[in-house]
């Protein structure tokens, strides 16, 4: 019985030790790779640490890169709870940003707090509808949601470009077509004393809220049952369609929020700079986090840190941008591969009574 009580702790320790060991192994493999290229691995490690985590500046660099990924990863992880593989977060990001920019401009002049709230809510609503569309296609027409959400992204980007370069173009934005600015008063701005925008806090709150929703509510329980076996869920009388659509809508809302924050905190209008691939980067983050909303946060920080230190490697050692992609690739392969180790390592196995 005593060993049973230590069960949850053992699982938690296992879930921590395995990915960290995989990451350490990845650093070693990467070090060997760099040594083969004539670089000093210790210097590389030092630079990675320096670029990503060594100072207040590098932490802010890391966190501001992680912020959008937290939200776009939720766009994959939430539908995944219901068994759907949605990879079209990019579409929700750009449309969320576009609609936030429109709302911000239309309401400019109103009380800034109201405008900000309206922009954020509009972005979330549009992102939610967009991903729910992929969920509905799957639920009612049997269209594979992975493909449809990906293709919907192309539609979203085309719509975005059409409006930004056509009917909604601000005539003064000559060589960088943009929508009309939302105005400085309506910008969300940075966290007090930091050079990181509010998107990070939104992301953290969203992750914690979704973790509670998925783990500790009947809704979340039902959702996971649908994810496990939709037929059994239907037999048990669960409203499968509603669960699938809401999970997609929540995920889409997270990505739409990411787009709205990009507009409201960074760009001040919608333009092509918004199509930066955050939606795609979120897919990797969600998979490494094993679709766990809480685990998304450290994984996004890791990815943000690697991208921050990638710049350091480029600048100090004249290495190409691809260097850090190699490290990312090695790390993600090993972390994903290490999933095979769960339940197989002796220290984490239940002890026989």
């Amino acid at each position: 019985m005593a060993s049973d009580r230590s069960g949850p702790w053992r699982h938690a320790a296992e879930a921590l030790v395995i990915p960290i060991a995989a990451l350490a192994a990845a650093m070693v493999v990467f070090g060997l790779f760099m040594a083969a290229l004539g670089q000093n691995p210790l210097e590389i490690y030092a630079l990675i640490y320096q670029g990503a985590f060594a100072s207040a500046f590098s932490w802010q660099n890391t966190l501001s890169r992680a912020a959008p990924l937290v939200l776009t990863a939720l766009c994959v992880a939430l539908p995944a709870q219901a068994g759907l593989m949605v990879i079209g977060g990019e579409g929700a990001v750009v449309l969320g940003g576009l609609v936030a920019a429109i709302v911000g401009h239309l309401l400019s002049g109103a009380a800034p707090t109201g405008v900000k709230a309206a922009m954020v809510l509009a972005g979330m609503a549009v992102g939610g509808i967009w991903i729910a569309l992929a969920g509905a296609l799957r639920q009612y027409r049997g269209v594979n949601e992975t493909i449809s959400s990906l293709l919907l992204t192309y539609v979203a980007v085309a719509l975005f470009n059409h409006f930004v370069e056509g009917p909604l173009r601000d005539p003064t934005s000559l060589n960088k077509p943009s929508t009309a600015p939302i105005g400085d008063a309506n910008m969300i701005g940075s966290l007090p004393g930091l050079d990181i925008h509010w998107g990070l806090v939104f992301g953290l709150v969203f992750c914690v809220a979704m973790h509670v929703l998925v783990r500790y509510t009947t809704y979340g329980f039902a959702l996971r049952i649908v994810g496990g076996n939709p037929r059994a869920a239907r037999l048990a009388g669960l409203p499968v369609a509603r669960l699938v659509l809401t999970a997609c809508a929540l995920g889409g809302a997270a990505a739409g929020l990411a787009g709205a924050v990009e507009v409201a905190a960074v760009h001040g209008s919608a333009n092509a700079s918004l199509i930066a691939g955050y939606g795609y980067a979120g897919i990797v983050v969600a998979f490494i986090a094993r679709q766990n909303p809480l685990a998304i946060v450290p994984v996004a920080v890791l990815v943000g840190g690697l991208s921050a230190s990638g710049g350091m490697l480029q600048r100090r050692l004249d290495l190409p941008d691809a260097t850090v992609l190699v490290l990312q690739g090695i790390a993600f392969m090993l972390i994903l591969g290490s999933e095979a180790l769960y339940g197989r390592l002796k220290p984490f196995r239940a002890r026989a009574a």
């Binding site: 030092a46 320096q50 890169r65 470009n161 370069e165 990009e262 700079s273 930066a276 600048r315 941008d321």
Partner: protein
């Protein structure tokens, strides 16, 4: 068993501590560059070896590296998001850079403007942005070249070379800078033979290699026999043209090695000129030159060497025009000029010199271009 686990833990902990110590020691080495040198940071939106926009900038950065008293740090593939703000910040905070060349057009507003306010002692030299007196910070500025002069020369050479009288232009976006190039190219060609037309295809974004290849193929299928482009990397267009045995004019950087048979000439940047000016000003402590523009005669742009396929008449006409451009008495955009819907866009008697800011707001396609803005 339990003891063994304990030992492992302790050993692991010690190992970890030792590792962290070594890491800390290395990190403490700190800044990599000598304090008495000017550190210059260059930021690219794409890969440095793209045979295009970024390579043209990287060539200038490479030239800077040969200057004494200077360290150059470079970072490529930086998107136009907060990433570029953090990259500029890293160069300033971690590398000690005091002069930055963030080269992508989209970096200017809001990213460079924000960082320029935050770091008033650092100079930000941006490629192409419309820096405005009184509106933008004094420690930011823009440099750009009148590359339409070279596009006009491209057009002249293309006009001599084409047999089908159909030219092709593959463009990323219908924005003023791009329209100006399309128009100059077409006008150059039509100065040789007014029957010539330019078929325009707009791909929609700066780097869409698949679409660019499709566009090139479809132009060639329509009978186009000289093609050129304004996209970030002309590589695919140039290679497709060579494979289909037609002629091609380059853009941004020298692509002649990609098409030894069909490469005619190219409109190339020569950014070394503005780069060195900025570096010298920074070293001498002179105030920043906020608005730098120049064409062929100022050494901001250059015409590529003629390829094998360029005949003598083409060389002669192009060289003759070049002489006037170098003298400064050649005006490309002068009235009467009609757009391709028949409206007069520049009235007779009006001549817009290169420095005229009206040209930076161009919104039409001239007569002879088949396509719509």
């Amino acid at each position: 068993m339990k003891d063994l686990v304990g030992q492992l833990d302790r050993r692991g902990l010690l190992l970890g501590l030792a590792g962290a110590g070594a890491l800390g020691a290395l990190a403490a080495v700190g800044r990599a560059f000598a304090a008495d040198k000017l550190v210059v940071g260059v930021i690219y939106v794409g890969p440095r070896d793209d045979y295009g926009y970024n390579q043209a900038q990287a060539q200038a950065a490479a030239a800077l590296k040969k200057m004494p008293g200077l360290t150059v740090v470079e970072q490529e593939k930086v998107p136009e998001t907060t990433d570029v703000q953090k990259t500029m910040g890293s160069m300033i905070e971690q590398d000690g850079a005091t002069l930055l060349f963030p080269t992508s057009f989209g970096y200017f507003d809001p990213h460079i403007l924000r960082m320029a306010e935050k770091y008033p002692k650092v100079r930000f030299a941006h490629c192409g942005g419309l820096w405005t007196e009184g509106k933008h910070p004094k420690n930011a500025g823009s440099y750009f070249g009148y590359i339409d002069e070279c596009q006009y020369l491209n057009g002249v050479v293309a006009g001599h070379t084409t047999k089908t009288k159909k030219l092709g232009f593959i463009a990323a976006k219908p924005i003023p800078q791009v329209l100006r190039n399309i128009n100059a190219f077409t006008m150059g060609a039509r100065s040789i033979d007014p029957k010539i037309t330019t078929q325009l295809i707009v791909t929609g974004d700066w780097a869409l290699p698949v679409k660019e290849a499709e566009a090139a193929n479809s132009l060639i299928d329509q009978g186009v026999d000289v093609v050129t482009c304004h996209v970030d990397s002309p590589k695919v267009v140039v290679e497709t043209a060579e494979r289909r045995s037609i002629f091609v004019c380059g853009y941004h950087a020298d692509q002649s090695t990609l098409a030894p048979k069909g490469y005619l000439t190219g409109a190339e940047w020569s950014w070394t000129t503005p780069y060195t000016t900025h570096v010298k000003d920074a070293m001498a402590g002179k105030p920043m030159n906020n608005f730098m523009r120049g064409g062929l005669k100022d050494g901001f742009v250059k015409a590529g060497a003629y390829g094998r396929a360029v005949g003598d008449p083409a060389r002669k006409s192009a060289d003759a025009i070049k002489v006037h451009v170098m003298k400064g008495d050649f005006v490309i955009f002068k009235g009467p000029l009609k757009d391709n819907t028949g409206n007069t866009v520049i009235a007779a008697g009006t001549a817009h010199k290169q420095t005229d800011v009206v040209l930076e707001q161009m919104s039409y396609l001239v007569e002879g271009v088949i396509g719509k803005v």
